[in-house]
């Protein structure tokens, strides 16, 4: 069964598609068509991708790597024509508003007919139907029944009331020079030191990233007490900020989900929070560990499912990564990377399914999509925690991390595409697919433009390479990935909470407007690619506090390819 056929069948099995099938048959075909299986072939990094011609502003990514960008179009012979832009726009308006446009001639015809026939004839028509009270009641009953079933079976909306990110204090700051001096003193192996310096130079991090107090010692002291101290510092700061912003009362929290991949003490971090804030005894608490950098969206997914099951509830989600216990003192290169990139951070998010919170909520959760490639051995061993030959425990990042990430991304957007792309993109894709299969296999594959589906992108700031790769694959401009790059520069890789720092950047720049759609993508060990789609419910005022408050005026900064150390 090839990929295209698989794509045809899979969406049809989902019930929303089935429901819509009855009413909008054309849509079903398009959904099937966007078996973005061809995205599989087109975005394969081994092939030369053909991104569309978009005006790119000050691209800080490694544009030198992107040789020979060629514009794509459904009709290649008009590729350099300016008029093509207007043709495209016209096409998009036509297809995306097809049904509304179709309604106009239908309404015109009906009203013409009415005018033509006259009111007298209409009364005659009505009486000929021989409608009496029982019939009316039956029809009414049927309508009420159907609409009740419809409203009751709709999923409860999940609102993001507000969120808060931990702002690291200046006392935890680690400049490059200090990091390198410590590396020289801790690692006897000269090669390890040079390797870390090369990584740091090209990492995209800035001079203000922060490590927890225990890591400022020579050598670092990763005791359990220090780890707990760090957890308390980051988590309680974030929750206190959130409480201040939203007026949340601890007794109102019904669901508590904490995700922290690499530090999992007993009692859990969620128990630590319950103890500190004196939460209710019948709270539903969960602690997710070992799920990597994409665990933030897994927690959101879990919260959403719980909020479907429990009406009128509030969920508090904490995403963090505790750095203290994970310092790697050995010499294995693949395990030294996390030392250079991971920094401290945490985010606290308040979700609610109460109707009255809709008024003050910032965002509504539209979709959460999770893709797990763990069935493949290569992907499973891609980010692997193990001991090296000397017995030091560390996280081994394999060399094919980027290609595995690309595969996982493809799978994820294969499923996401039909849900979010506008009709124009799906139709274009379907047409190109048909032409390629039937008429001319050499026709260039069409990559749907996700920029039409979303206004803002939050790409997990896992590292410069990840952001570069996604920018290339999704054909995003520098402004779209600015939030990710600047978060990496200011805060480093804060793991699962980085998405929230990026969102805060977008809000701090005043770019978030009502109705904007946001896409958060995260990758993590497993290998997983998770994404969430949010819709902005009210224009967000520029925050006066928060992690970006005193430095946003300095951003965006130009990040050189290689920083001279």
């Amino acid at each position: 069964m090839d990929a295209a056929t698989l794509g045809l069948v899979a969406p049809l099995l989902r019930w929303p598609s089935a429901f819509m099938l009855c009413f909008f048959p054309t849509n079903a075909i398009n959904i099937a068509a966007v078996s973005v299986a061809s995205i599989v072939t087109s975005l394969n990094p081994r092939q030369r991708s053909r991104p569309r011609r978009t005006p790119s502003l000050n691209c800080t990514c490694s544009s030198s790597r992107q040789a020979g960008r060629m514009p794509t179009a459904p009709l290649p012979q008009f590729s350099s024509s300016v008029k093509l832009k207007y043709v495209k726009l016209g096409y998009q308006y036509l297809v995306n508003n097809f049904l509304s446009l179709l309604l106009l001639p239908v309404m015109a015809a009906v009203s013409l007919e009415l005018v033509h026939r006259g009111p007298g004839e209409m009364v005659e028509l009505w009486e000929s139907l021989r409608v009496d009270l029982i019939h009316v009641l039956c029809y009414l009953f049927a309508i009420v029944f159907v609409s009740t079933v419809y409203f009751m079976s709709r999923p409860r909306p999940v609102y993001l009331v507000d969120y808060a990110c931990f702002k690291p204090p200046a006392t935890c700051r680690v400049p490059f020079s200090t990091f390198m001096e410590h590396a020289r003193l801790i690692y006897p192996n000269e090669k390890s030191v040079r390797f870390q310096m090369r990584i740091l130079e090209r990492s995209g991090l800035g001079e203000e990233t922060c490590l927890p107090p225990a890591n400022h010692y020579l050598p670092p002291k990763p005791t359990m007490e220090a780890s707990r101290d760090e957890a308390q510092l980051v988590i309680f700061s974030a929750i206190d900020d959130l409480v201040r912003k939203t007026g949340l009362k601890p007794k109102d929290i019904d669901i508590l989900i904490v995700n922290c991949s690499l530090f999992s003490p007993t009692p859990s971090l969620s128990a630590m929070i319950i103890n500190k804030y004196k939460l209710r005894s019948n709270i539903r608490s969960f602690n997710l560990s070992g799920m990597g950098c994409s665990a933030g969206l897994i927690s959101i997914d879990l919260a959403r499912d719980l909020l479907q099951a429990h009406p009128s509830s509030k969920a508090l989600v904490i995403s963090t990564e505790i750095i203290t216990p994970n310092f790697y003192p050995g010499n294995e290169r693949a395990m030294l990377l996390p030392n250079c990139l991971f920094r401290m951070g945490a985010a606290a998010i308040l979700l609610s399914n109460r109707r009255r919170d809709a008024r003050r909520a910032k965002y509504r959760l539209v979709h959460v999509l999770r893709t797990h490639k763990g069935a493949e051995d290569r992907a499973y061993r891609c980010v692997y925690q193990e001991e090296d030959s000397e017995g030091n425990s560390g996280i081994n990042l394999s060399k094919d991390l980027m290609s595995i990430a690309g595969d996982a991304l493809k799978s994820n957007i294969t499923t996401l595409g039909p849900l979010v792309l506008p009709m124009s993109e799906q139709l274009l894709f379907f047409l190109t697919l048909v032409v390629r299969k039937v008429i001319n296999p050499k026709w260039k594959p069409y990559i749907p433009d996700f920029k039409q589906a979303f206004e803002h992108f939050c790409i997990h700031a896992g590292g410069r390479a990840v952001i570069d790769e996604l920018q290339k694959n999704l054909d995003l401009s520098a402004e779209h990935v600015e939030a990710s790059r600047m978060t990496l520069h200011r805060f480093g890789n804060t793991s699962s909470s980085s998405l929230w720092y990026e969102l805060n950047y977008i809000e701090s720049k005043g770019r978030m407007r009502r109705g904007d759609r946001l896409w958060q993508i995260a990758f993590g060990s497993g290998f997983k690619c998770n994404s969430a789609v949010w819709k902005c419910m009210r224009t967000v005022k520029t925050p006066v506090d928060g992690p970006w408050a005193n430095c946003i005026h300095r951003y965006p900064v130009h990040i050189p390819e290689v920083v001279k150390l």
């Binding site: 200046a170 700051r173 680690v174 490059f176 020079s177 200090t178 001096e181 001079e207 107090p213 010692y217």
Partner: protein
Amino acid sequence: MGVEQEKSAVYGHMFSTVVPGDVTGEAVVHELADMDLVTKLHYLRAVYYFSQSEVVDGLAITDLKRPMFPWLNVLYPLAGRIRRAEAGRPFIKCNDCGLRIVEASCSKTLEEWLDAEDDPRWGSLVPEKILGPELPFSPLVYIQFTRFKCGGMAIGYSWSHVLGDAASATNCINLWGDFLNGNDPPTKPFQLSNMQNTAQDYAPQKAPASVKQVEIANDCWLFPNACKMATHSFKVTETELDKVQKGQKLQFELIAALFWLCLSRIQSGKELKLATICRHGTQAKCSDMLSNNIRTSTVKLDSSAASVGLFRLANLIVEQDMDELESVEQLVDRNSGKPDFLLYGANLTFVDMRGINLFGLELKGQKPVKVDLSIDGVGDEGAVLVLPCPQRSDVTVMVILPEDQIPKLRRVLDSEFGIA
């Protein structure tokens, strides 16, 4: 008590680093003046003793470190590292690398420690580190916090003389105290830019006698002494001073002459005919400059100091007070700052430090009970530092001499002048 026993009484060393809170900026450089380069082989070591109290014992390491971040925002050269320009002249790259902080504990109580035999006692309370052999990775300043058994704390402060003189060093640490106590930050920022007149402006001078050029191997900025140096501090009270002064008002000069005399008596083989006098250029207490503002001059005698009388010697010190600054600068500039020089100990050196604010460091209102200040890296001829006391009329004299000379000196001073 042997040095080894003293050293083992201090245990549990933990090293960490403190950096400026804000990014200093890219390629910010603190140029080193000629006078700075002359002192680069010397290190100031100070220990501040604070007695047991709720305030002092209640200060956790985080409370002590937190004010250092805004402090280093003001004094960012302290957090820099030495680099060499292409021509070979050293400068400080302000790259926010930071200070080294040491935390330690002591198995003795503060009283036991202070009552114990003098000499090396302060040595284990302050890190005896030097710049080099890897200059780009050697911190310029170290601070050690040692907690005594049953309470009390010693703050050891190691300062590379290349950054500034004793006045600058004490003003900097006092500023840290201000930040700790929550005082307002200084209205006048520290003057950090250091360039003075270039020596090309001066008429050619002969080489100064106070500074000696030495050869240092491997970029290790410490002069290798021929013999082991040791220190001792003497307290000269008002009454003893009066006995010596007999109504004259030349406090520093008389003390210098007194020690010169005694040293020439105990050093029977050598004739101490040459001595260097160092004074601070500006009024030290009000100084808010990070610089080496030392006026050096040399006193040359025709015969041994022992044969010259005390008051005659003191008058000679006053008369031959010529500033050698220009000749020093020319000497350094002629070789574009590359060679190494020795200031303290090139000849027997007397340093007037009475004007520095030695007792200005306060921890939440509590002043230190004792402060020791010494210089490391002194040459074989030795140095005598005249330091202030909390009681204005007294002075403390810290001598840094070859080990074998100190007991003899003590005997002479005790027997003839009653100074202990």
